[in-house]
């Protein structure tokens, strides 16, 4: 098998990897904003509850979460497809990290911004939506891009719960043909090929943001 043929073989798992990432992001981004904002606003018992949920998703090892959700939960009558488990666990784990970027970005804004909003008679929600979030999002971009890339790399773990993603394809090819160097460097290259555009996208967004302030 030529290196190119190996790469093509690996990319047969691309659809799975790609859809886990896309659906994972659909969990991660809303989770990050909801819980980051909730943590920013809440006090007392609500704060503790919100923080506990975030910490659960952020601090548990992804491999263990995958096993628990895929292999243990059915024992309690909850059965989810490997795809659902993979995207949910990876997405919310990423979302847990990202929520901290959201909260930190909101907290690090100059308090004068909030006060100016109050002085203009804007309701709290409006201050968040029109004044705080637009500024916070800009400072969240680098972290979000990093986490996105981490999510892509993390998808390699779904091969452990029977999904045939790029990593699982590489292992399949490795069983047919003894060529560890070719196959695994091909796999590395495959992840690089899908991660790098995200990096470029991130640079583009950051460039646009900093331009906006000057232009």
């Amino acid at each position: 098998m030529s290196f190119f043929a190996i790469l093509l073989g690996i990319f047969e798992g691309f659809r799975v990897t790609f859809s886990i990432v896309v659906v994972g992001l659909c969990y991660a981004v809303p989770f990050a904003f909801c819980f980051g904002i909730l943590q920013y606003f809440s006090k007392g018992p609500l704060y503790v509850a919100v923080t506990a949920i975030i910490e659960f998703w952020r601090s548990s090892p992804v491999v263990i979460l995958l096993f628990v959700f895929y292999y243990s939960l059915p024992a309690f009558g909850i059965t989810m497809s490997a795809f659902t488990v993979g995207s949910l666990v990876l997405g919310l784990n990423t979302g847990g990290y990202a929520s901290q970027a959201v909260r930190a970005a909101l907290q690090s804004l100059d308090r004068g911004q909030y006060e100016a909003g109050v002085a203009l008679g804007l309701p709290r929600f409006q201050i968040l939506w029109s004044i705080e979030l637009p500024q916070a999002v800009v400072s969240m971009v680098p972290t979000f891009i990093n986490l996105w890339i981490q999510l892509i790399k993390g998808t390699a773990l779904v091969s452990l719960i029977t999904m045939v993603d790029m990593t699982a394809r590489a292992k399949e090819i490795a069983q047919i043909e003894y060529n560890p160097v070719g196959i695994y460097s091909g796999l590395l290259l495959a992840y690089l090929i899908i991660c790098y555009p995200v990096t470029i996208f991130g640079r583009w967004v950051e460039g646009r943001n900093s331009q906006e302030k000057r232009a």
């Binding site: 100059d110 006060e115 100016a116 203009l120 309701p123 409006q126 637009p134 500024q135 000057r214």
Partner: protein, 253 residues
């Protein structure tokens, strides 16, 4: 001592503060403040650092809560906490020491944000109104720029325009020129004089004594959380009644 020395008794009170006390924890930042400001009156508040000037002005517009006493805006009671649309404090506009412009919005959008969100009119109409106000503060040509592209003096004039665009009945200023380079102070003071001469009710914390002399109806001198002296500017500057005011004046003049 604290009663109004203007005798326009038929004029409505814009702000009535009675026995207002404000604590930060154990620390009493405002001690039983009494102050009445009539409609159209221009009051300058001065006093040493930490005397509670900012705290007083922030209580008036609801950025700080207070623990006891009363605050009325045009006869309507305002509680310690600012309370949505029905709070009479929506009639106050505020200009901050550090401008606090919104860096992600153009000058024009900074000015129209509040009127837009309060649905005061169509976007076109509000833009036109804001441009008129920006013209008044002599910065209309910068309407499409972002705050970071302006000098400090220009930014503060935008902040004044933004406050004016709310069409407030009372304008509050908290040391609007203290963060400015000396050469920019006058352009802001000129605008403030102009705004004052249009008959707005103004309460202005400032140490710009020239400004106080020019526009203030009364000067309120605070020290250690109390109003120590209230007088007409010409009296206050030439013959302060209290030692504390005399000492303060000897330091700033």
């Amino acid at each position: 001592m604290c009663s109004s020395i203007t005798d326009k008794t038929e004029v409505q009170n814009a702000v009535t503060i009675s026995e207002l006390s404000k604590f930060y924890g154990e620390f009493e930042a405002l001690k039983h403040i009494d102050l009445e400001v009539t409609q159209g009156e221009r009051v300058v508040v001065c006093g040493p650092s930490g005397s509670g000037k900012s705290t007083l002005i922030r209580c008036i517009n609801g950025l700080e809560t207070f623990q006891s006493g009363g605050l009325e805006i045009f006869g309507e009671a305002a509680g310690g906490k600012r309370n949505g649309k029905t709070d009479p404090r929506h009639k106050t506009g505020m200009v901050f020491q550090n401008f606090n412009l919104f860096p992600h919005m153009t000058v024009l959008d900074n000015c129209t944000l509040s009127p837009r969100k309060h649905k005061r009119g169509t976007r076109d109409k509000l833009d036109a109104l804001a441009l008129e106000v920006l013209d008044k503060v002599k910065i209309k040509d910068q309407a499409d720029k972002y705050p970071s592209q302006l000098s400090g003096g220009q930014q503060q004039r935008v902040a004044i325009a933004r406050a004016l665009c709310m069409e407030p009945e009372i304008l509050l200023f908290d040391e609007p020129t203290s963060a400015l380079d000396p050469e920019m102070i006058n352009e802001v003071l000129d605008v403030m004089v102009q705004v004052a001469n249009e008959g707005n009710t103004m309460i202005c914390v400032t140490h710009e004594m020239g400004f106080a002399r020019k526009v203030a109806d009364r000067v309120v001198f605070m020290d250690a959380g109390e109003i120590v002296e209230i007088a007409k500017p010409e009296d206050f500057f030439s013959t302060p009644k209290t030692d504390r005011a005399a000492e303060f004046l000897s330091q700033v003049l």
